[in-house]
Amino acid sequence: MKISRIGAWLTLAIVATFYIVPMLAMTRFAFQRVPVIKLSWGNVFQKWTIQPIIDSFGSPDFQRAASLSIMLAIATALATIAVLLPTMTFAHLGSPRTRRLIEISAVLPFVVPAIALVVGFAGAFRDTLPILIRSSFGLVPLYVITALPFTHRTLENGLAALDIRTLVNASRSLGASWWRTIAFVIAPNMRASIATASFLAFTVVLGEFTIASLLLKNTLPLYLSYAQGSNPQGTFGLGIVLVVISTVFVAMSNRFGKKVRT
């Protein structure tokens, strides 16, 4: 039972280094106009500039990709809430077995890797509903499914903290319809989990590559992989920005998540 504290700190220090180095390297590459070979202790603090990333922001390709990704992210978040909130509310009103079934269904996406999902999707709808494949917004249902395990768990935490049955009974007995109940009674009480689930959906969409790549949709991650050749520094800079944004999102989710649990 005696694990030394020194050993513990050492472990954490070593692992932390492993995590910082790549991020540092990416930042340095993106923002410092000194090739690695020429890098020396003398010029370590020279020639730092954010010009490359400004160039990237200015590129019309980037702007198209970024706006597509953001729209997809918003659509995914909305679709997730629209599909999950009513379903899970009803699940909580039903038997524990129903709830369990929904829980299991939410883990199913883990079982189907993105690559398998997208080739199946493309193959299945190519002849029957090609619009799903042609339109960029055909990605949204796939993204909802990809994010499902995480968003489901978040909303589950939020619902579990409330007494759904009482809320619904009270609201219905006052004459509200099911839709009003969900929108105006349940949802406001779950602001934190809904926000968290939305953040998670956002993070997933902004980082998702596989599906977009195979369906040839020009989202932000795809832009990053293509633009790498023409503007390496700017692209890497964008990469760092994406990492920072994802970190902030997940950190905020954690913060919100904690609030829900109390």
């Binding site: 472990t11 954490l12 790549p22 590459f29 996406p109 590559f209």
Partner: protein, 283 residues
């Protein structure tokens, strides 16, 4: 009668959700499997061809990569979890580590590949720094785009995933069990051997399986690191279905995808069952 019709109506509310899953998860899945078993003009079922023919190497490569990155990641992730729980009294440490683990575990794809290229590539910062202290990893044959390079990159999200799985499990190790063991005469070593490790085993094993599944399904990172990544099954599927489609042979791509689903399903189910067992003991 009234009761059962109301129950049926109750269940109807789940129709949209079930339909959604059926259309966008079920149907693609079914399509993959149907195509995977369709022989077409080939003599053997694509499913068999996929694992015996030229792709056998891909599966082996993918599984090797997954198992090795999972093993190393599991060990290091476990050590981090133990360290975090041991330093429980340090305010803010646990939330920082667990929080960052949540970020890193979901990190993947392009930015991660970029970061490691920038650090450990031929022109990488770390490569350069190591050369300063006379450690020439390029001279040793290390390439970020090869097997061990990809393992290194995968560790970035494998380690935190294991930490996230194990920290709650370690929390679940009740202090009373350690004290009970002591009061019954057990030494520290005996406690670990007879009580702590057996109790932690489901989480350890489950976490390991999760890591394997995680690595096995990964696509973007390997794709971005190119050359080495192209031998991985996910990337092969893509080449297959985007590149030349020799009629009759497309189904091989679906067979590869179907095998991926089967393997991932087994791993994830194993993980779930083990975590259920670990949960049960925590009560």
């Amino acid at each position: 009668m009234a009761g059962s019709s109301k129950r049926r109506a109750r269940h109807l509310v789940f129709l949209p959700y079930v339909a959604f899953l059926a259309i966008f998860l079920g149907w693609p899945g079914l399509y993959v499997f149907r195509s995977a078993f369709a022989k077409g003009t080939a003599e053997r079922s694509p499913m068999i061809e996929a694992v015996t023919g030229q792709f056998r190497g891909s599966f082996v490569f993918s599984l090797q990569l997954s198992f090795i990155s999972a093993s190393i990641g599991a060990v290091i992730g476990a050590l981090v979890a133990v360290a975090v729980v041991r330093l429980d009294t340090v305010r803010g440490l646990r939330s920082t580590v667990v929080g960052y683990s949540a970020v890193a575990a979901n990190m993947g794809g392009i930015p991660l590949a970029f970061a490691f290229l920038a650090a450990f590539g031929m022109q990488g910062l770390a490569t350069r720094l190591l050369r300063e202290i006379n450690v020439d990893i390029i001279g040793w044959g290390f390439r970020i785009s090869d097997f061990w390079g990809i393992v290194l990159v995968y560790l970035y999200f494998q380690i935190p995933l294991m930490t996230l799985v194990l920290v709650p499990a370690l929390d679940g190790l009740r202090r009373t069990w350690a004290e009970a063991a002591q009061s019954l005469g057990a030494s520290s070593a005996q406690y670990w051997r007879l009580v702590a490790l057996p109790i932690l085993t489901p989480a350890l094993l489950g976490g390991f399986l999760l890591l394997v599944a995680n690595a096995f399904a990964a696509y973007a990172t390997a794709f971005a690191l190119s050359s080495g990544g192209s031998r991985l099954v996910p990337v092969q599927i893509r080449f297959f279905l985007q590149g030349d489609t020799i009629t009759g042979k497309t189904n091989l791509g679906y067979a590869l995808a179907a095998w991926m689903v089967i393997i991932t399903a087994l791993l994830v189910t194993g993980f779930q069952l083990l975590m259920r067992r670990a949960e049960r003991w925590r009560r």
